[in-house]
């Protein structure tokens, strides 16, 4: 199996190198990268079959030793278990869809080859991240996906907004990585290893360890370590307050928004916490922290989706909110539900983004929903797939999102942890909000009056097959993935051995499960279902029936609208405090410390002292012979005088 896993990782890398470094034609560029990713995808499916269907053994092997310090080995290797193989399949499948889609979306772009190179490089990095069996390689993949995200957000590098957004994304992610790295440092210090299996094996032993970060104050090691690691996840998975980069990342081409900023990279944090469940399970504090951060993200980022007019930004805020749901699941110890939602979300959110991209192509790169409307009749495939994606997102019974979202809400309801009450409230309310903004978007884009200009309207037509085929292929799992996997993932122990949950924390007990139909029927009677329907109805009423009301609400609650448009002021605060503050601090250090005190004061100052001293001494060296002769005579007289006086005494 080792060779298969190695091929899965290396095939996209080779594609990226060929397309990126050699001057190849467009056809070669997309052929070679798509072949590479297709190989990865097929082999991932094979691995999926091998492990999950045939019950093959978990693979945990070292590829090579990165370095050895004393008896600590830093290695590069793969851990492939059921959790990994699901991530691998999702990543390579969505990536393949996006590769195909890109042929259509980037058709006229001069950076065609570069784009394919980047997305293949991304696939490589993401696979390295999920397949790692140790913290070092995890960190490598973690930062490598950050690099590719940076390159892709700034893909159109002549746009000021794009290169602002990519720098911002990288730096905000670095803030997360700062915590993450400190967490890894603690892991190494207390476990003397960075290998997952070794660390997790020793985790229980350290459960009671306390450390004093502030002298005299005892903190649980596990809490500190897990919170630091989670800060890394907050950066990558865009949790408040490190979420600020994700909306701006929409500056990148749409296929990227689907692949990186919705389906895969942003879920790396969720995956990481689930992978480290043996550590997180040991800290109630850290889990509560996660629960609260996640519920804030889920609810408050959902609100922001209500006021956006840019079609991609609506989907972006929806992604933030859904990431919040996944995070809440983690905080409630429902790791498998978090991964389940990650899994279904990858399909329907990629579908929604690619659908939005399809609309954007048809609209000639117009992204403002106020200038759309009535696209249903021009773009039937995009319309149908968009409807499927939206239904999956709001959790309509039977669709993929329904199962995963319901599972999370259920788990939070069961959780007895500080913050779980608030989290439950936030998620349930979030269901209404999700339905409202999703169908607001849906109605504004596909129904109602055709608000585009005449020229655009004349040219409206369905997008080509390279765009619509991926949409259709993604629509299938958006419907089915939930119903198929709800049993195995949550109740039948698919993740046993990969995810560790304390028995009393586990919200999903096999004897509570009565099959998919039972689960669905149960959901039909739950509050979330009615809230979702209410959300759709409200959206229908506001944007189809009484289209004058939204403006009135906006006028009446102008202050609230302003707060939402302002995105709660995070960006302004960061720009002022962090960016401005750093520049201010830098200038002060430089102009006062380096220039004034050190250079002007100490360095040139000592030069001035020398010069001043010399200018005085210079008066003694007049060059006149009689001055010197006179000085000699005085000197002689003094010496003689001393000699005589001392002699007589």
């Amino acid at each position: 199996m080792q060779n298969i896993y190695l091929t899965i990782v290396l095939a996209p890398l080779i594609g990226a190198i060929v397309a990126g470094l050699f001057k190849v034609s467009r056809r070669v560029a997309h052929s070679v990268t798509i072949t590479g990713v297709a190989i990865s995808c097929l082999l991932s499916f094979y691995a999926f079959k091998h492990l999950i269907i045939d019950g093959g053994a978990t693979f945990n092997e070292t590829l090579y030793t990165w370095m050895v310090i004393g008896d600590v080995r830093f290695e590069v290797g793969f851990l492939v278990d059921n959790l990994t193989v699901i991530m691998m399949s999702v990543v390579s499948f969505v990536s393949l869809m996006v590769h195909v889609y890109t042929i259509g979306y980037m058709h006229d772009d001069p950076g065609y080859q570069r784009f394919f190179s980047y997305i293949s490089l991304f696939t490589f990095s993401m696979l390295m991240l999920v397949m790692s069996n140790n913290f070092l390689q995890l960190f490598f993949g973690w930062e490598a996906v950050g690099l590719v995200s940076y390159l892709l957000i700034g893909f159109w590098y002549t746009r000021d907004t794009a290169i602002y957004a990519n720098l911002k994304a990288f730096l905000v992610n670095r803030v997360g990585d700062f915590g993450f790295l400190l967490g890894i440092a603690l892991v190494l210090m207390y476990f003397n290893s960075l290998n997952y299996a070794e660390v997790f094996g020793l985790a229980e032993e350290q459960a009671e360890t306390v450390i004093q970060i502030i002298p005299g104050v005892d903190w649980s090691l596990m809490s500190v370590m897990c919170i630091l690691l989670f800060i890394g996840a907050m950066g990558k998975s865009a949790q408040v307050p490190l979420h600020v980069w994700l909306p701006d990342s929409m500056e990148g081409p749409t296929p990227i928004s689907a692949l990186i900023h919705a389906a895969t990279m942003v879920t790396a944090g969720i995956f990481m916490v689930a992978r480290m469940s043996p550590l997180f399970e040991l800290s109630e504090t850290a889990l509560s922290f996660i629960l609260i951060i996640g519920s804030i993200t889920a609810l408050f980022m959902g609100f922001l989706g209500l006021v956006q007019n840019d079609i991609k930004r609506v989907v972006a805020y929806s992604t933030l909110s859904q990431l919040g749901y996944m995070t809440v699941a983690l905080g409630a110890s429902a790791y498998s539900a978090g991964i389940f939602h990650l899994f279904t979300h990858a399909f329907f959110k990629a579908l929604l983004f690619l659908g939005a991209g399809s609309v954007i192509i048809a609209m000639h790169h117009e992204q403002d929903m106020r200038n759309m409307g009535g696209l249903r009749k021009y773009m039937p495939i995009t319309y149908i797939t968009g409807l499927i994606g939206s239904l999956a997102l709001i959790g309509f019974p039977g669709f993929a999102g329904f199962y995963s979202k319901d599972a999370i809400i259920m788990a939070v309801g069961h959780a007895e942890r500080f913050g779980s009450g608030f989290a439950y409230f936030a998620l349930v309310l979030g269901v209404f909000i999700t339905a409202l903004y999703s169908f607001r978007m849906f109605f504004l884009v596909f129904h109602g009056k055709e608000r585009m200009d005449h020229h655009t309207q004349e040219h409206l037509h369905e997008t080509p097959a390279v765009v619509t085929v991926p949409l259709m292929l993604l629509a299938i799992p958006s419907i089915l993935a939930g119903a198929i996997f709800v049993g195995p993932m949550l109740y039948q122990g698919l993740f046993d051995g990969a995810i560790f949950v304390h028995h009393e924390h586990n919200p999903f007990h096999a004897d509570h499960y009565h099959g998919v139909v039972g689960f669905t029927l149960h959901g039909l009677m739950g509050l979330p279902f009615f809230l979702a329907m209410a959300g759709v109805a409200t959206a229908y009423f506001l944007y189809m029936v009484r289209t004058d009301i939204p403006a009135k609400i906006q006028a009446k609650f102008a202050w609230l609208h302003q707060i939402l448009i302002d995105k709660y002021g995070f960006d302004r605060f960061n720009e002022w405090f962090f960016a401005g503050g750093a520049r201010k601090l830098g200038s002060t250090f430089w102009s006062v410390g380096d220039v004034k005190i050190i250079d002007d004061g100490m360095v040139n100052g000592s030069a001035r002292v020398v010069a001043w001293y010399a200018s005085i001494m210079r008066h003694l060296q007049t060059g006149y012979l009689y001055h010197y002769a006179f000085a000699m005579i005085i000197g002689l007289a003094v010496l003689l005088g001393v000699f005589v006086l001392s002699g007589t005494a």
């Binding site: 050895v68 310090i69 930062e143 690099l147 000021d160 430089w590 360095v603």
Partner: protein
């Protein structure tokens, strides 16, 4: 097969002879001869690496001849796991510098190339010298070619910069000479390795440590004696900057390993707080200063100082780790080895990356004759290949995993945690600061639309420049993806040094 050759002597004297040959050869042949010599020297230095015995911490490839036997001064050379990689780095970098000068230096090219070759020999000598006087002579001699390089081929304010550079470093060295003479008086020997075993009372150790500190801190440079470096870099020609950043700065940190730590371990332990403090100031204070620089070379110069802070942090954090009661002896030793090796890895990596950064700036400067960030913007539009290199090295400078820039920082941060949470915390801010100053510069220079019309006339990197930068890309990647071969060389020496310094030498 190389065991019989006096390899180190050849590596010292052949470049110097080569330099004279280049001088005599005249304008026409100077470049090919210089390239030939530097390549030959580089190849000749490879056996040092490949035939290095990684099982011992003892000096290898040793040579010892009487020089002034009446004064106990010997021509004594040898390398261990610390100095050997630095020598190979020197011979490697010199090849690139010769190539970088190819068509750029038109004014007195033979002199320019000869200066670099002669300097190469001297620098190898500094790293190989095991006799205090030999070391001191070469240490000072090294200033002369650099003085000439900046003074003749430098920018507008080159006179100010050279004098500042010379006085700063010379002043520091004088203190070292005093310390060396004291050690001679105590031991009756100029052999460095003898000093390592010389018992010295605490007060004397403190004074010796401080004297060495002045000399080495200026070279590294450490805050607050760092201000000569930005000026020297700004005025130096590209090759001068590369050698300065890649090799000369390493002399200071090398000095800590060869002199301060083994000769005065107790004083080093006593004053480790000072060293850690200064290192963190370098990382953070200088990091902030780098953010606001308007001149690319100044920015990279400050970035160098900041990165060198990791080297000194890695060295001196060892005492704190060894003294941490929470750790078992074995774990503490591992942590200390991790930090100190991390510092050395950072030295080598910084040689590649800062050299590459200065070469990239040189590429732009050769074309537009300005180093101001504001004069650029949108370079990627006209120089796509260059943009690739610039982004790559920018990322390496920000410590991206997979590049060599990550390895050293990672090791030092991980080991700092074992000393104190807050030291690791402060050191890790480089993740944010390093990315901020480097990538903000990359953004303003490489990306964006073209605003300055002159930028639109730029031509992309030529084959020669691609060759130089590609070689560095390979070096940076190789060390980032698989640092073990280098660590294997370093580790026994570091282990030995740490065992040495964990025993008191106070009488």
């Amino acid at each position: 097969m190389f065991a019989d050759l006096p390899l180190l002597s050849l590596l010292i004297w052949l470049p110097i002879l080569g330099g004279i040959w280049v001088l005599l050869a005249g304008e026409q042949l100077a470049r090919p001869i210089a390239l030939l010599v530097s390549l030959f020297i580089f190849v000749l230095s490879l056996p040092l690496f490949f035939e290095f015995d990684t099982t011992t911490a003892a000096m290898q490839f040793s040579e010892r001849l009487p020089w002034l036997p009446n004064l106990d001064i010997y021509y004594h050379l040898g390398v261990d796991g610390i100095s050997m990689p630095l020598i190979v780095l020197t011979t490697f970098t010199t090849v690139l510098v010769v190539l970088a000068a190819w068509e750029v230096i038109q004014y007195r090219a033979p002199h320019y190339l000869a200066a670099f070759l002669i300097m190469e020999g001297i620098m190898v000598g500094v790293f190989a010298a095991l006799d205090a006087i030999l070391f001191y002579v070469l240490w000072e001699a090294m200033l002369i070619p650099m003085f000439i390089i900046i003074g003749i081929w430098g920018g507008v304010r080159r006179v100010y910069a050279t004098i500042k550079f010379f006085l700063y470093t010379f002043l520091g060295s004088v203190f070292m000479l005093v310390a060396l003479l004291y050690l001679y008086a105590q031991s009756g020997s100029f052999a460095l390795l003898d000093y390592h075993h010389l018992a010295i009372p605490m007060t004397a150790q403190i004074f010796i440590f401080l004297a060495f500190l002045v000399a080495f801190a200026v070279k590294v440079p450490m805050w607050p004696v760092h201000t000569w470096l930005p000026d020297a870099h700004v005025e130096a020609p590209t090759g001068g900057s590369v050698i300065l950043a890649a090799i000369m700065l390493k002399m200071g940190t090398y000095g800590f390993l060869r002199f301060s730590l083994p000769i005065t371990p107790d004083a080093s332990r006593e004053l480790d707080w000072l060293m850690i403090l200064l290192s963190l100031v370098a990382v953070i204070y200088i990091g902030f200063v780098a953010i606001i620089q308007k001149d690319m070379k100044k920015l990279v110069a400050y970035s160098s100082i900041s990165h060198m802070g990791f080297v000194t942090l890695g060295f001196f954090i060892a005492f704190r780790i060894l003294a941490n009661p929470e750790l078992t002896n074995e774990a503490a030793m591992n942590g200390a080895v991790l930090g100190m090796s991390g510092g050395i890895v950072q030295m080598i990596s910084h040689g590649f990356i800062s050299g590459a950064m200065f070469l990239c700036i040189g590429v732009l400067y050769d074309r537009l004759h300005t180093r101001q960030i504001a004069d650029y913007g949108g370079v990627a539009n006209v120089m796509p290949r260059f943009a690739m290199f610039a982004v790559f090295f920018g990322m390496a400078n920000s410590g991206l995993p997979g590049t060599s820039g990550f390895v050293g920082e990672f090791m030092v941060i991980l080991s700092s945690m074992q000393a104190n949470f807050w030291i690791a915390f402060l050191a890790a801010t480089t993740l944010i600061l390093g990315a901020a100053y480097t990538l903000w510069m990359v953004k303003r220079v490489v990306f964006g639309a073209i605003v300055n019309e002159k930028v639109s006339t730029l031509t992309d990197v030529n084959a020669r420049e691609i060759l130089i930068l590609t070689v560095l890309v390979i070096a940076v990647l190789a060390m980032g993806v698989w640092p073990e071969p280098v660590l294997k060389v370093i580790e026994p020496t570091v282990q030995n040094l740490l065992e040495h310094i964990s025993h008191s030498k106070v009488m």
